[in-house]
Symmetry: C2
Subunit: 306 residues, 2 copies
Amino acid sequence: MSDHKITGVFSAAATPLNADNSPDLGLFTEHCRRLLQEGCHGVALLGTTGEANSFSSGERRAILEAALKAGVPADKLLPGTGVVAIPETVELTKHALSLGVTKVVMLPPFYYKGVSDDGLFAAYSQVLEKVADNRLQVVLYHIPQVSGVPLSIPLIGRLIEAFPDTVVGIKESAGDFNNMQAIIAAYPGFSVLAGADPLLLPLLKAGGAGCITATSNLVADSLRTVYEKVHDEAHAGEVEAAQVRINVYRTLSNSYVQIPTIKAMVGLKTGNAAWKRTRAPLMPISDADHAALSQAYAKLPQGARP
Amino acid sequence: MSDHKITGVFSAAATPLNADNSPDLGLFTEHCRRLLQEGCHGVALLGTTGEANSFSSGERRAILEAALKAGVPADKLLPGTGVVAIPETVELTKHALSLGVTKVVMLPPFYYKGVSDDGLFAAYSQVLEKVADNRLQVVLYHIPQVSGVPLSIPLIGRLIEAFPDTVVGIKESAGDFNNMQAIIAAYPGFSVLAGADPLLLPLLKAGGAGCITATSNLVADSLRTVYEKVHDEAHAGEVEAAQVRINVYRTLSNSYVQIPTIKAMVGLKTGNAAWKRTRAPLMPISDADHAALSQAYAKLPQGARP
């Protein structure tokens, strides 16, 4: 995997809120530092789990700036900068670069559905040509069940060919292992990152580059174990056990609406109920569900790190 | 229909672009004036046909301001102000109100899919409570095939009950006549506006309030005829003929990708090829398709007004 430009365990970090629904920057940066301590190579903030598209452009900038100000190194941050309008994707990407953050995760424009590959190629191309910064490394973001806009394998190839030093990877959040394998086969050296935690181990075995996942908010240590030891036969049992632990957390988080449940579980892990808050249209899980979640959470296997 | 707070023929106005993809404000305001001259009661700018979500917040403001500056009366403008993040929906709605524009069309937040009615109610409620302006009249925007976020009949009812003077109508762009009838039956006085041109006549007969449609960019005169004379038996033949003409234009525009084709047809109507331009991810129709469209367009029945 040494030829991957982006490789490792990245957290699709959740964003805690204050009582007035503004981002809780202090609690967020504390969370980022904890994720790195627990084993993440980096923090993919402002993604789907991070409720990025529910924040204004100004709030997004403030969240990224807060992480840097709190001492999180720029090279460990992968903010989402792809929004629905090209000019604003350009602005957010330039803002990240202006702070020394050179890796971003980029959604396609996601309002119109059924758009052509030509249209998506034009959208990404226009963004990259307007940003025009050779430091930039872009992870494409394929999450059709949310965005409604899949990124086809030919489209990925056209983007790699046109921007070989910039378009370096993809977050495959459709959870489609066949698609991940097909991308790896088609574009050697291009970094395929799993968006679904259960696929980290099989993806690494198949030549993938790592993951950007939600469960990493809870079990970064186990994800790191899988990543570090996947190719070491002597640790096969430990790796399998770590993947099982990841899957158990993932299954529990998917027992209710996933993002609010991940946030509630971070609250249980850290003893801070403020984590339960979500921004509309996402709603916190109900009190009854939270009580049941608490009981189930208490029975989960705890981690070793840090 | 006299109890409707919003009633009439409104154009889902297309937005022309300059060669650099910026909005062509001069051509746009000329288009707005023509739409009113041709029979529209108002212009629902910055909707799906208007590619609103492909423009930055600043561009959206500039487009609205240009229409006012060009003399389009504020009470004839219904801008789309619903975007994906609540704070920006609040800002765009306040901006319209600051200019004296009190009627808006509002999408729900459209990134997350499968969200609950509670979540959508919370999102709309937070917007309306933060805007806090009793002049505001909101047309909800139901276009699930694009937004991915349907507005259920119970949700509509909760919003009407909570904000009876503000939530006054809905643009039903799913093209589901049963749904339109069910909304009319459930909420008398609430304005149901057809988003699909072929449904204007049946909707008006069923107690609907009018339309906000794309084909109005081309045949506002015929839509106005249907609206004015639908309840006058003496003009039944004229009304039927007008609806047939509308449908013929609509069918041709749907022979290719709809929004680029509507724009190309406005270009054919006005003799200005600049209208062909679209902003990515939408692409202009191909030269071959444009040639075929031109031939078909030349055979369409022309209008009487003005």
